[in-house]
């Protein structure tokens, strides 16, 4: 059965052009870019071309790009470096809805004695900017706020937040893993000090991440080793992946228009048809500025894992913020932070699209999902003859 893939915030397919670009660097062109001989030198040249393309996607300079292994490494490096270069400052600001790559690290640092402010969001997922401004202090070492939320697609005003931090001479990091390639980013016009993103979210392969480090920003490396990346990240470069990411960034720049025309129109049709056909359903983050490819919809009184597995019977791939899908016992921390009630949070499904999705994909979901929800509701003790039980 062909997969109808609507889980692109989890990972994306490697674009054929990206794969083609990478392949020679697995076989014939295997030289080490640090070598003095021309066999390695040709790889170094290609690596620098890729660095330029990656920098171009966010309007950065190539020397501001550090290759890492993934988004998590980039996030960890940024925050730990900011703390290391500000040893007298013990305060971190982040939000309640961050990806675990930031949230879990901040919780860990809190246990180590740092003071961490976790900013609230409103019911639409918007950041509490008033609380943010009040939280900035002379003791703040770093602010880390995501550019766009991985579960709801809600976009935070990071440019404004970075400017406020900059005024107080505070380093500002953004986890832009979901934003890069989906919305235009011009890093030069912001006060953002550090930005993370990851290859496998934009049709490159897994195992390659990027840390943008604004020129002049104080930095202490997380991985100490050789002289690679100007000593900012030791370790022989993952050359095929970097070269693939270069191509993926080039394609992403070309497809930005598509993301905001084709993809957004597919997403909106999917969302509108689902809301129209399935009662007691609601878009989480609806009404807030959102990524063009993401919709997170809750279906009252049913549980997310069951929905996913029944959709899987038709080859439809999506995600859920229900507790049961993760091995965790609490539903999505993002939805709970938004005040989404349990009746809705357990039954949430995230559809995340890409430029490879088509009208046929949307048609299939629109056809198959309503009977799936109806079937599960008929089995739910909280659902009574088409209406929710009053006491649920």
């Amino acid at each position: 059965m062909k997969a109808t893939y609507l889980d692109n915030n989890a990972t994306t397919r490697v674009a054929p052009e990206v794969l083609e670009e990478m392949l020679p660097y697995f076989s014939d062109l295997y030289g080490n870019p640090s070598s003095m001989h021309s066999f390695g030198g040709q790889v170094a040249k290609k690596l620098n071309d890729a660095r330029q393309k990656i920098a171009d996607l966010i309007n950065a300079s190539p020397d501001e790009i550090i290759f890492t292994s993934c988004g998590t490494e980039s996030d960890n490096t940024a925050i730990l470096s900011a703390l290391a270069v500000n040893p007298d400052k013990r305060h971190i600001i982040t939000s309640r809805v961050e990806h675990p790559a930031v949230k879990s690290l901040c919780e860990h640092l809190q246990e180590k004695g740092y003071r961490v402010t976790m900013l609230d969001v409103d019911s639409k997922g918007n950041l509490d900017m008033e609380q943010y401004e009040k939280s900035l202090s002379t003791d703040t070492a770093v602010v880390s706020l995501m550019w766009a939320n991985n579960e709801t697609g809600v976009i935070f005003p990071v440019e404004k937040a970075a400017a406020l931090a900059h005024e107080k001479d505070i380093l500002f990091h953004t986890d832009a893993v979901q934003a890069v390639g989906k919305i235009p980013i011009n890093i030069k016009e912001t006060a953002i000090s550090m930005l993370s993103f990851s290859g496998h979210k934009i049709h490159a392969q897994k195992g390659i991440g990027i840390l943008y480090l604004r020129r002049g920003t104080k930095f202490l490396p997380f991985m100490i080793g050789g002289h690679q990346e100007k000593g900012r990240r030791g370790g022989t470069e993952n050359t095929p992946s970097i070269i693939g990411l270069g191509k993926a960034c080039e394609l992403a720049a070309l497809n930005l228009q598509n993301e905001n025309t084709k993809v957004i129109s597919l997403r909106d049709r999917l969302e509108n048809e689902i809301l129209k056909r399935i009662p007691n359903s609601k878009v989480n983050g609806g009404g807030a500025p959102r990524l063009p490819n993401t919709t997170n919809i809750s279906f009252e009184f049913v549980e997310g894992e069951s929905i996913l597995l029944l959709m899987d019977e038709y080859g439809i791939c999506a995600s859920s913020g229900s507790a049961c899908t993760s091995g965790s016992l609490q539903p999505s921390h993002v939805l709970r932070a938004m005040g989404v009630p349990y009746t809705m949070a357990h039954g949430s499904v995230r559809f995340s699209l890409s430029i490879y999705n088509t009208d046929k994909d949307i048609d299939l979901v629109i056809e198959k999902l309503p009977p799936i929800i109806a079937r599960l509701r008929a089995m739910s003790p909280y659902w009574n003859q088409g209406t929710a039980c009053e006491n649920a």
Partner: protein
């Protein structure tokens, strides 16, 4: 993706006995939407007091649906006494196993069955016994202890898998660990001492006489000795030694180590043997 057995998948995709029986003999609703799974179980008995029909409704994941479906299949045809013996492990086994993280779904089924039987027997619905340990999921120490002892759990992670306790904010982990430590630090239970009937004075005197005659005197005589029962004052048994015992330098050891310990063993641990001069 969870690794579900074919049986779990089958029960999830084609659940048996979905619904609700009207005027059921047994009914239970447990779990909550906050916890992420809830189950309503109903059953009806036939004229032979066997479960003729069982149905369920559930809000939950594939494991919860499969566990409920399997439970209803398991109990059909059983007497209440037979159904009472169903454990969460029986439910999991009938599904060919569940992922460890999903064992709480089988526990949900067992708890629903217990409650439904209580309803049938007219046991009034009571507030949960014990102290709430896990505030996130409202799990008490009694529930944790039951899961630990019935399923031989030894770690917090296992307890979370079976009861959900400790799976939220994690603040209760210390308390859960203490429960585990307490259960496993207790020595194997020693056999209860035999209950002895309360004796009247006359019964006690008669029993002492009989015991000396039957259990003690033959052994003493075998070695050329003997004792006479002189008096019994409360728990004091006054004896006089005769024959070889009267001249034996170890007669005190014989009186304490043999006579007294035999009387204590067979009549009362409070008895004390004393010797009067000849």
């Amino acid at each position: 993706m969870w690794e579900y057995t074919d049986k779990v998948k089958e029960h999830f995709l084609n659940p048996k006995n979905v619904g609700e029986i009207e005027n059921p003999d047994g009914v239970a609703e447990i779990g909550s939407i906050a916890c992420g799974d809830a189950l309503k179980l109903t059953f009806k008995l036939d004229e032979n007091k066997r479960i003729k029909e069982a149905k369920f409704k559930t809000f939950g994941c594939a494991s919860a649906i499969a566990s409920a479906s399997a439970l209803t299949e398991l109990i059909k045809g059983m007497t209440i006494e037979e159904a009472m013996k169903i454990t969460n492990q029986d439910i999991a086994d009938s599904l060919g196993g569940l992922p460890p993280e999903k064992m709480h779904c089988s526990v949900l089924g067992q708890e629903a069955l217990e409650k439904a039987i209580e309803y049938y027997r007219g046991v009034p619905s009571t507030v949960k016994e014990g102290e709430v340990i896990c505030e996130c999921f409202g799990i008490t120490d009694k529930e944790i202890e039951k899961a630990v002892t019935e399923n031989h759990l030894t770690t917090i992670e296992e307890i979370t898998n079976y009861t959900k306790a400790g799976g939220g904010c994690k603040k209760c982990h210390d308390k859960i660990q203490k429960i585990i430590d307490t259960i496993y630090s207790q020595p194997a239970t020693e056999p209860e001492p035999k209950e002895r009937p309360k004796l009247t004075n006359i019964q006690k005197i008669r029993l002492i006489e009989e015991t000396i005659e039957r259990e003690i005197r033959p052994s003493l005589k075998h070695d050329g000795g003997d004792i006479d029962l002189v008096d019994i004052i409360g728990n004091r048994v006054i004896v006089a030694t005769r024959g070889a015992c009267a001249v034996c330098p170890a007669s005190q050891q014989t009186l304490k180590g043999f006579v007294e310990s035999k009387l204590r063993e067979l009549i009362s641990p409070e008895l004390v043997v004393e010797e009067v001069p000849q």
